[in-house]
Structure formats: structure tokens, C-alpha cells
């Protein structure tokens, strides 16, 4: 059930199984005009060209990772409403909650009079909002490289002062923190075979997912290789054969790990090398947002527990 909890935010991150980082490359071009009003034009993840001609003052985000990016760009005060799963940073908790992607409360959202709504491609309200003249931008970070693009687009769309530099600063700090986390990985843990279970029903976070990218950066070897897809559903037997040395998963799913038929043979289970995360930490780990370094830190902390120097 814990694992279900893990899946839902994943779903919301909208980034499952989509083949990380392929496809549409939205380009942002800033039209060169005067310094006062620069219209910002972008192609969003639906392939729509959206022109944002003045700085948005009231922004709604319907995906936790998008809200986190807005806040990390130090524009948190622009947010007037978020989806029900957003819970970070603290400021977001006090904002009106507008439901999820499939059951967004349309009227409550419109009442907030937003001038920009950031959401996922699969959102149901997109067309209704556009028909009411509200600017809608669909963005879904699919991989870490893709997040670089999304951060830049959001910074531009919000007309933040020094948008490019601000986005670049955020991106660089994410990269530096990831590198720093990688340096703290115990030497014995480098090159270890791991299996990351992202959801119940043997949904794995493969090497191609953003979670997999973090794991790879920490020097771990994912048994679910990139050619298997980002979040494939694997055969339990496959995991037994691959014999991972560490298993990452949600706390509650970890409870019945020993009772899975045949899994006692797996090295990670024999040697009790399990990294399980409580729900609060799962939120951090499964969102493809700017808190990826924190996710990496959580993984490193567990590795340190498993391989004390």
C-alpha cells in the first residue's frame, strides 16, 4: 500500500513510463524588445505556442514539481493556488488546494483569477481554462536534463528579473548538490547492483527514469537497464535472477518483502540491505522536481547506514 502511495505522486509527476527525455524539445525565445515589457514565447509540452506578454502576478500550479520549481526560483509569492498533493515548501501548504489533475475544482480555480496556470499534459481542465481566456502552460519534467529546460521555461514565463541567470543558478546548484551527494557515497557501495521499486505490482524505476539517473550518478548499477523503459513492470523472477545487492522501496511495501516467493535468495534480502522510505521521504524521491538533490541525500544516508565506514 505504501507502494501505492509511491505511485500516485509518480503519476502526478506525470513522468512514468514515458521514455525519459525523448521527444518534444520546446524552445523558448525571448523576443528582443524594450526592457519594460518583453513578451515571452514558448512551446509547451502539448506542442502549443504560448505567448506571455506581461509578467504573471497570480500563478496556479497543478503539479507538485512545478510548484516546487516556482518556489525554488524564488517566486513563491506569485502562487495563489496549488494541487492537493503539493506540500512543499511550507508556504504552499497554506494556499488553496484545487484538487488533482483529474478532478480539478474548476470554479475554485477560476475564482482565484490566475493569469497563468502551470499543469501537466494530461490535465482535464486545460481546454476549459483556455476557452475562458486563461493562459495555460503544460510542462512535465521527464528527466534531469529535461528539468533544466522546464526551469528555464518557467523562469521566462514568469518574467522574473534576470530569468536566464536565475534559472541557470538554480540548475547549477542542483547539479553541485548532486555531485556533492555522489562524493559522500561510501566506497564499498560504488558499483553495487540495485533494484528500485517505485510502485506496487513490481513497477521498477529503471536506469532511464529520473530516479534512475540519480542512482546512476551515485555510482550504483540499476538491474533494470535503460532499454527496459523508465518505469517498467518487471517479472518478480527477473529481480531474483538479477540478484540485486540493495533494494530501494517504500516503507510499507518493504514489510512483506521476505514473504515474496523466492525472494529470500536475493542477496539484498539475505544481507538485510534494504533502503525503505517513509511517505514524507517518498514524496521527495518520486517527484521530478528541484528536490532531486535531497532525494540523492536520502539515498546516500541509507547507503551510509548499510556500509558503515
Amino acid at each position: 500500500m505504501m507502494a501505492m502511495k509511491l505511485v500516485r505522486p509518480l503519476v502526478l509527476a506525470g513522468a512514468l513510463l514515458t521514455g525519459a527525455g525523448v521527444g518534444l524539445i520546446a524552445q523558448a525565445q525571448q523576443t528582443e524588445t524594450s526592457q519594460v515589457v518583453k513578451a515571452f514565447q514558448l512551446t509547451d509540452d502539448r506542442g502549443r505556442v504560448v505567448v506571455i506578454d506581461k509578467a504573471p502576478q497570480r500563478v496556479v500550479t497543478l503539479l507538485p514539481s512545478l510548484g516546487e520549481i516556482v518556489c525554488e526560483l524564488k517566486a513563491c509569492e506569485l502562487l495563489v493556488g496549488v494541487d492537493r498533493y503539493s506540500n512543499w515548501p511550507d508556504r504552499v501548504k497554506s494556499l488553496p488546494k484545487l484538487g488533482g489533475l483529474d478532478d480539478t475544482q474548476l470554479e475554485a480555480l477560476v475564482k482565484l483569477k490566475p493569469d497563468l496556470v502551470l499543469l501537466a499534459r494530461s490535465s482535464r481542465v486545460t481546454q476549459r481554462l483556455e476557452s475562458m481566456g486563461i493562459k495555460v502552460v503544460a510542462l512535465e519534467p521527464q528527466s534531469q536534463e529535461d528539468m533544466h529546460r522546464v526551469i528555464q521555461l518557467i523562469a521566462g514565463a514568469l518574467h522574473l528579473p534576470n530569468a536566464k541567470e536565475r534559472a541557470e543558478t538554480l540548475w547549477q546548484s542542483i547539479q553541485q548538490k548532486l555531485d556533492a551527494a555522489a562524493l559522500r557515497v561510501p566506497a564499498q557501495a560504488k558499483g553495487v547492483r540495485i533494484y528500485f521499486e517505485a510502485g506496487s505490482g513490481y513497477f521498477a524505476a529503471g536506469e532511464a527514469s529520473y530516479i534512475g539517473e540519480t542512482l546512476k550518478r551515485l555510482g550504483l548499477v540499476n538491474v533494470v537497464t535503460a532499454n527496459m523503459g523508465a518505469f517498467p513492470q518487471v517479472n518478480p523472477e527477473f529481480v531474483v535472477k538479477a540478484n540485486p545487492q540493495i533494494i530501494f522501496m517504500g516503507e510499507r511495501a518493504a514489510n512483506d518483502l521476505p514473504s515474496r516467493p523466492g525472494w529470500q535468495r536475493i542477496e539484498a534480502i539475505q544481507q538485510q540491505r534494504i533502503c525503505s522510505f517513509p511517505p514524507a521521504q517518498s514524496d521527495i524521491i518520486v517527484r521530478s522536481g528541484p528536490r532531486i538533490p535531497e532525494a540523492a541525500e536520502l539515498m546516500v544516508a541509507c547507503l551510509k547506514r548499510l556500509y558503515p565506514a
Binding site: L17, D45, G100
Partner: protein, 336 residues
């Protein structure tokens, strides 16, 4: 209880119409914070942009389902028939599932953006019915048609489930579609449903003598000189059209199509021409009322409207059944 009054069609019609008007009026006053009588002046934009289209949309979708249900029950001479009988529900779900998968893949072709989820649901529902008709080699055999519908429903449903397992990120969207929602109905959608309703209502009332004939048995209908085969095609086409139009805009709303004709027949027994029209009104009242409760009961939270239609319609049907079993069943006949 069993002495329930049988009213004239006209009486029932204006009662339902009055109720409908009341529902639409109240529907404009129930906002995201619950009942909002006082703020109607300040909320004009919200009422025009959101509340009115969704209220009207719910009523129109309900009317379409009511009509489709009455058509299905008449055509198949089966009180358990509902609009989704020929696999349209599974077809629509499959369409939506495919749509969501395409939407979640990065490279979307421009045609898909234009068709959208509504278009996929519409096409899915239509294709399922067409498939059922093909597999049953035409419309002559009611039983074969029903069985083909069941098979198509099961197979398409299985494929949709397979997609759900393979692409878990679409689960939420497809599930909320299956529960039905009237929250996102827009003005163009209302216009579309109104056009379909007007067309189907007129055509089905015109073709309704067939249903009256069929009620007496297939051979009687033939001996009455009715063009049974061609009228069947027409009515089946209308059934599919109504269902697909409603499903595409509001998802799989449970029970309205099944319950509306029964609720009508509990009050009025007569020729199909009138039953069909009354079922439209009854369906509109049912779904309009459910929509109202869906957003009013737990505002600002919204309940899935399909859950409410099932509870409301189911509850009332049970009440009717109680009256039936304790009293004379002669007048009600096997067709209730």
C-alpha cells in the same frame, strides 16, 4: 403504496419540466463554496462560464442517456437493457485509455490534439457498437446482438485494462472518466449534445411505432406491416449516437439510462412515443439533480456524479420495487 397514481403523459411531462427548470436555476447558485444565493450578482461571469454550461450539460447528457435507455429497453424488450449494452462503455473507456497513453507519450501528432479525449471516447463508443453489429451479422436476432455486445464489451474492456496495467500513469484519468463527471462541460459541448438530442428525439419518436409493435412480439410487429429491419437499424443507430454523445462529454454515468425509463413507466404507461420523450425529461432531471448534489453536498469538494446517480436512481428503484411486490403485478406486466 401499490395504489400509486398513474398519471397522464402531459401531467408527468410538465411536472418534470418544472423540476428541471428549478434544477437549472438552483444549479446556477451552487458554487465552489456551496450554496451561494447572495453572491449571484458578483458571480455573473462564473455562472455564465462554468455553472450554467455544466448544469445544462448535465441535463442534456441525462436526457440523452434517458432516451438511449428507453430505446434499448424497447428494442431488446428487456427491462435490464441499458445504453451501454452493445459495448459502448468499454469502447469509450478503451478510446479514453488510448487517448491518455498517446497524451502521455511525448510526440503527439497534431490530429490527436484536435480529436482530444472527447473525440476518442466518442469514436470508441461508436466503433464498439459497430463491431457488435458486425459480429452479430446484422440486427435480426436480438439474442445474437446481445451476446455480441457482451463479447465486445468484455474484450474491449480487457484491452483497456491491459493498457491500464502497462501505463499506470493513466489510471487516475481513466478511472475518473469511468466514474463520470459533469464538471468540465463547456458551451460548445452543450450545443453539440443539444443538436444530437434534438435529432435523435425527433427521429426516435417518429420510429417509435416499431417499439410498440415489438412489445407485442416480433412476429406481431412483422404482421402489422412494420418495416422491422430498417427501423431497427435506425433505432440502433440512434441508440449508439445518443450514448456516444453523452459518454464523450461526461464519461460513463451509471444507471441514468437504466433507471429513467423505469421511473417513467412507474408513473405512466402508454405508447413508446411518449415514454421516450418522458424518459428524456426524467434522465435530465436525474442527472441534473445528481450534478447539483455532487457539487453541493461536500463543497468545495466534489463527489463523482456517477456515484450519486447510482445511489439516487438505485434507491428510488428499490422503493418502486417494494411497491410492486406487495401489490398487483398484473397492471405492471413483465415490462417494468
Amino acid at each position: 403504496m401499490n395504489a400509486r397514481k398513474v398519471s397522464s403523459a402531459f401531467q408527468l411531462a410538465w411536472q418534470l419540466a418544472l423540476l428541471l427548470l428549478l434544477l437549472v436555476a438552483v444549479g446556477c447558485m451552487v458554487g465552489s463554496d456551496g450554496w451561494a444565493w447572495a453572491q449571484w450578482r458578483t458571480d455573473t461571469d462564473l455562472i455564465l462560464d462554468i455553472r450554467l454550461p455544466r448544469t445544462l450539460g448535465a441535463c442534456l447528457a441525462g436526457a440523452l442517456l434517458g432516451l438511449a435507455g428507453a430505446l434499448a429497453q424497447g428494442l431488446f424488450r428487456n427491462p435490464l437493457a441499458d445504453p451501454y449494452l452493445l459495448g459502448s462503455a468499454s469502447g469509450a473507456s478503451l478510446g479514453v485509455a488510448i487517448g491518455m497513453v498517446l497524451l502521455s507519450q511525448l510526440d503527439m501528432s497534431p490530429w490527436f490534439v484536435r480529436v482530444g479525449i472527447t473525440g476518442m471516447a466518442f469514436m470508441g463508443a461508436w466503433l464498439a457498437v459497430a463491431l457488435s453489429l458486425v459480429l452479430s451479422w446484422g440486427v435480426q436476432h436480438t439474442l445474437r446482438l446481445l451476446l455480441a455486445g457482451v463479447v465486445v464489451g468484455v474484450v474491449l474492456g480487457a484491452i483497456a485494462s491491459l493498457l491500464l496495467v502497462m501505463f499506470p500513469q493513466i489510471q487516475g484519468s481513466v478511472q475518473s472518466f469511468m466514474l463520470g463527471s459533469t464538471a468540465y462541460v463547456s458551451w460548445p459541448a452543450c450545443g453539440l449534445m443539444l443538436a444530437v438530442l434534438a435529432l435523435s428525439w425527433a427521429a426516435s419518436v417518429a420510429a417509435s411505432p416499431l417499439l410498440d409493435g415489438l412489445a407485442l412480439g416480433e412476429s406481431t410487429a412483422l404482421s402489422l406491416g412494420l418495416p422491422v429491419k430498417s427501423l431497427r437499424w435506425v433505432l440502433l443507430g440512434l441508440l449508439a449516437l445518443c450514448t456516444a454523445a453523452a459518454v464523450a462529454q461526461t464519461g460513463l454515468i451509471a444507471f441514468v439510462g437504466l433507471a429513467a425509463p423505469h421511473l417513467v413507466r412507474a408513473r405512466y404507461k402508454g405508447i413508446h412515443g411518449k415514454t421516450l420523450s418522458l424518459s428524456c425529461l426524467m434522465g435530465a432531471v436525474l442527472l441534473g439533480g445528481a450534478d447539483l448534489l455532487a457539487r453541493g453536498l461536500m463543497a468545495p469538494l466534489e463527489l463523482p456524479v456517477g456515484v450519486l446517480t447510482a445511489i439516487l436512481g438505485g434507491g428510488y428503484m428499490l422503493y418502486l420495487m417494494r411497491g410492486m411486490s406487495s401489490g398487483s403485478s398484473a397492471g405492471r406486466g413483465g415490462r417494468l
